[in-house]
Amino acid sequence: MSEELTGADVAAVFHRYAKTVAELKDLLTELDTAVGDGDHGTNLDRGMRAAVEALDAGTPGTPGAVFNLVGRRLVSTVGGASGALYGTAFLRAAGAAGDATGLDASRMAAVLRQATDGIAARGKCAAGDKTMYDVWSAATEAVESAAAGGTGLAAALSAGAVAAAETVRRMVPWQARRGRASYLGERSVGHRDPGAVSSQALFECLAAQAAA
């Protein structure tokens, strides 16, 4: 268990995430074929492979530097909504992390808040639109309230992962109001949102790293 994530730890989170995305690739593609254009798994996998390659090429600096590098790689390799949204999230996270050498629970909460607000601004989405924002928003709120209550980092991120998973399940009967799934209207009801699922996986990787 760690009460602080260093730059090397954040890099390890992204290694975990790249591996998870590769494993989830077919599932994400299948979910996206049902409500979108079927490219979410392929695109995110391409981006995370490029991000990890860039991380491996240098020595990990601060958490902020790692977020910045990953954000930049995603923006330049993924395209589509997922590249812009994940890229913006990590670039905002980098800004919030600043020069800090470690992220404790309250700093992590601040970093996630900036990332979540970045997704809302870029995607012009709000709570209840049935997008990845719903997952980021719920998970960030859980981390914030745990941090405010004096909980350590590992427990706070674990609460975030639980909230993310619950939200993905809660969203299934909703009707999408943003993104390509919104074109389906009522036909988007009953589907798991692919961006929500890939976001849940990220929060689970964060929690797993802090628990390690």
Partner: protein, 334 residues
């Protein structure tokens, strides 16, 4: 699936490289980040036009790069918008000092990446304007969706804005013109069978032999409804009715441009059969087809289907449509 591919993940790179190799007089390819500019870019003192979008819609957009149309095109992965740094690099390469018009089809990914590029360009003092194309009447335009999809009108916006830029119009005027073309255009597509994305090798959706997808999107998105298959004339009339019903009643008069677009697997014969009926039906509704474009210009891989676009012309738009253009896919007057 038998296809003339080498590797599924190389189709975009290889196709764009192929076009650049056979048209060295017209196109210049920059591989990383990937974009294609007209060979004589940047053109000093002229507004530059940059568009782009997911690949799989060829000849759009690379096929529309050249004098009188686009200054640069940014091809994304198949059905995926280009990245912000592709757009930014392309805009930098073609800016001739008069600013850059970004022509964007209304899809979340395209909108976000072009918006990020515009922010990066603004930070460096390069002026941009954006024209958002959202002409697909199959999709309800409401605050509860991402708005209408951009389809056939994109080709018309690129041609007409390209002509105005070539004549020396300034950035604000070219942008205003683009918005005018977009606002006066409506489209609807229908599919008899889906396209097959190279990476998955499977069709995007499956229709029964006697079924069509009415209002299909260019990425195989579902449309308004699945309907029984009908003869070409009946399908043409049904699509035109949806397009015309979306205009106000007092707009349905005068000259129009009719764009019959094959979605990948429609034969030239099929496009001509649809065009035949469309010209007659529009005539019966009191609209004269003064200009037309018929063929495969904005495809959806190998989708079997067509889209119909109607643009309400005025003298200014007709004149700009007739102006010379020299691109791989559209070429006249030079």
């Amino acid at each position: 699936m038998k296809r003339l591919y080498n590797r599924p993940d190389a189709v975009v790179d290889e196709a764009v490289e192929g076009l650049a190799l056979v048209h060295p007089d017209l196109l210049r390819l920059s591989p990383d980040p990937m974009y294609v500019t007209r060979a004589d870019a940047p053109v000093r003192g002229r507004v530059a036009l940059v568009s782009g979008g997911g690949s799989g819609h060829e000849p759009m957009h690379v096929g529309f790069v050249g004098p009188g149309m686009l200054s640069a095109a940014c091809p994304g992965a198949v059905f995926t918008s280009p990245t912000a740094d592709q757009v930014e690099a392309a805009a930098r390469a073609v800016d001739g000092g008069a600013g850059v018009l970004l022509i964007v089809k209304n899809y979340s990914g395209d909108v976000m990446n072009f918006e990020m590029a515009a922010e990066l360009l603004a930070a460096d003092g390069i002026a941009t304007e954006t024209v958002l194309v959202a002409d697909d009447v199959a999709v309800e335009d409401s605050t509860y969706t991402s708005g209408r999809r951009g389809v056939g009108a994109t080709v018309l916006v690129e041609k007409i804005c390209g002509a105005a830029a070539e004549r020396g119009a300034d950035l604000a005027a070219v942008a205003e013109l683009g918005r005018k073309v977009a606002a006066r255009s409506r489209s609807l597509g229908l599919a008899l069978s889906a396209g097959t994305v190279p990476a998955t090798g499977r069709p995007g959706f499956v229709l029964a032999d006697d079924e069509i997808e009415f209002g299909v999107g260019i990425h195989g998105e579902p449309g308004r409804e699945r309907r029984p298959m009908e003869p070409a004339d009946a399908l043409t009339d049904r699509a035109l009715a949806a397009v015309l019903d979306d205009f106000a009643a007092d707009e349905l008069t005068g000259d129009v441009l009719l764009f019959v677009n094959g979605l990948g697997s429609a034969t030239p014969m099929e496009c001509a059969i649809v065009a035949r009926r469309a010209v007659r039906t529009l005539g019966e509704r009191g609209l004269r087809v003064a200009r037309s474009l018929v063929g495969q210009y904005m495809t959806s891989l190998d989708m079997l289907g067509v889209s119909l676009t109607v643009l309400r012309l005025d003298d200014d738009l007709a004149r700009l449509w007739d102006d010379p253009v020299e691109t791989v896919a559209l070429r006249w007057g030079r």
